[in-house]
Amino acid sequence: MTNNQSTKRLIGIFAVGATLLAVVAIAGLVFSTMGTFLVKGAPHLSWSLLSEAPRNNNTEGGIFPAIYGTTLLVLIMTLLGVPIGTITAIYLSEYTRPNAVFPRIIRFAVNTLAGVPSIVFGLFGLGFFVQFVGRGMDTALGNDTALFGQPALIWAAATLAALTLPVVIVSVEEALRTVPREMREGSLALGATRWQTIWKIVLPNSTTGILTGAILAIGRGAGEVAPILFTGAVYSLPQLPDGITSQFMHLGYHLFVLSTQSPDVDKTLPLQYATTLVLLGLTFTLNFSATFIRSRLRQRQMGR
């Protein structure tokens, strides 16, 4: 009996220990990645890196065009994706009952969209936006040379907008749900129509949520490289992109090419670590501000 008891204790210690070990392993992963990039990247961060253009076949100089291209890309992506995602969320939470068929189909599609591999979005961007829409526009406008029918900033942004759509929809819908039912009912009882209620009551009270969705989408979109591989990103450019049809440099793509296809990988190693740090800084700032806003939002909801 005592033997049985001690075996049970041992299993218990083992069972709890295994979970603790898993957490320690994850913490190890987080700290080793962060530590590596901080230690190896921080010494090479400088103002000239952030502000200068690359020189000598991208082996020297700064990464300003890549930062500029990434910023421009996520900006256009946000302008394209966030309105659509917000409207979808409004439709799902304000105009439909949760158990009706069509909203369930939409939810299924949103979840499926979130699970589609990012490289497939890249193929979709190439096959649909560049080849179909872009060339269609060229034909319609009568362009002799390919203006829209080539990889470009606008197509990369559209592809990323499609990729980040689920992120926006889910977080905006969550935000819309934090608006209390009483406020909607009060508005409707005072004679406002449903659209007036949404426009004047629900949306102003969920702007933070929409902001969170946008920030999360940007954080996700800024780090994705696979979808823009064939839809507009290039390794080096003579000048900054000057329109939505030009190609652009991108931090993540820059890092990828520097570390795998550069003729002299070792020489650019400091540049690679510094680029990684800039990219991480960008995505983490965005993600943490989103998490912060969201936790404030949840507290507000709890407080009621």
Partner: protein, 401 residues
Amino acid sequence: MESEQTQGITPPSDISSKKSSSQEHPFVRRKSNLGERIIERGIALVGGIAVVLIFLILLFVLRESIPLFFQPESKAIGAKSAQTDKNAQKASNDETLKPDIYNPDIILNSAESETIFVPEVYNPDVSLPTQVSSVSASAPVPEEEQDESISLANVLGNAWQPVSTRPKFGILPLIIGTAKTTIVAVLIGAPLGILAALYAAFFVPRRLKEFIKPMVEMLAGLPSVVIGFFCLMTIGSFLQTLFGLDFRLNAVVGGIGLSIAVIPIVFTITEDALSAVPKSLLEASLAMGATTWESAYKVMLPAAFPGVFAAVLLGIGRAFGETMIALMATGNAAMLSASFADPVRTFSATIGAEMGEVIWGSPHYSMLFFLGVLLFLFSFTLNAITELFIKERLAKKLQGG
């Protein structure tokens, strides 16, 4: 679907029509109602965009891959791809290469090389049907030989050599490569994610509670290209010196990298599933005299099992679809080997690596899109299983139980 949309909008228009009948400002009211009705119709239309997007993705990825399997279009696309490719140039004056996959290309290239062989990078392959048909009529291609070359045997073969005079599109090495990295990733990532979620749910000291979730979110926030870079630079060398491996980049290194992407997914979904189990189960178990770990492992985990299963499935989906990590950390050699210490090449990495250099419209191009179709279908299936089967079952189990 149309009827569903209108159903969704019916309540607001009902309300507004009642309002307009209440005599106060009939004219003004009605005008705004019309505007609102348009807005609401618009919202319903935009709401369906996610559904449309899914269809568009499948449609257009499939559309680009179809020429691979259907003769007429293969000819057509091939004809349009008169491009500055080394294959085409090499073969343009070599008529002996006839029984080849690239055959239509090659012959037509030679026929057209004077006229269309301009340094134009993108061919308008959608907008030129008339020219194409005339070209393919002027350069007849032996049908039987073509049927042989684009056969299923080639696709199911065991060599992936897309860029050669006699290209081989055997996807077997890619399947094996993808399977190897996915297995490693899930074997590492799933237990870590599940156990960490158990710890966070049941065993965590109060002080650490606010610490674990941000940590996992940090891991989730790592861009995949950064994870790939980390594997390439650090994990690869580390494992090589530790075990004395022949190859610095191999299936295990890639798998470890992918597991970094898998852990947050498994953790989050498992945690959701555990917190969806009613607290009364845990309380009952503890009240019966079970210890915390017994309650966690023997009551709560089985109760949340469908959710955990869904977490693992979605983890698999992430692992096999992930591109940048696989592209940077697996070594990218399409080898047919069972060893996990050999370099591998996955589906997604193949698309990522080769699409940049391929001729638009060539069989190779179509083949890469076909790989994309396979990826899409696989992820769609996994997702459909979790959505339709597992979540339903979980809900039923927790409500009925």
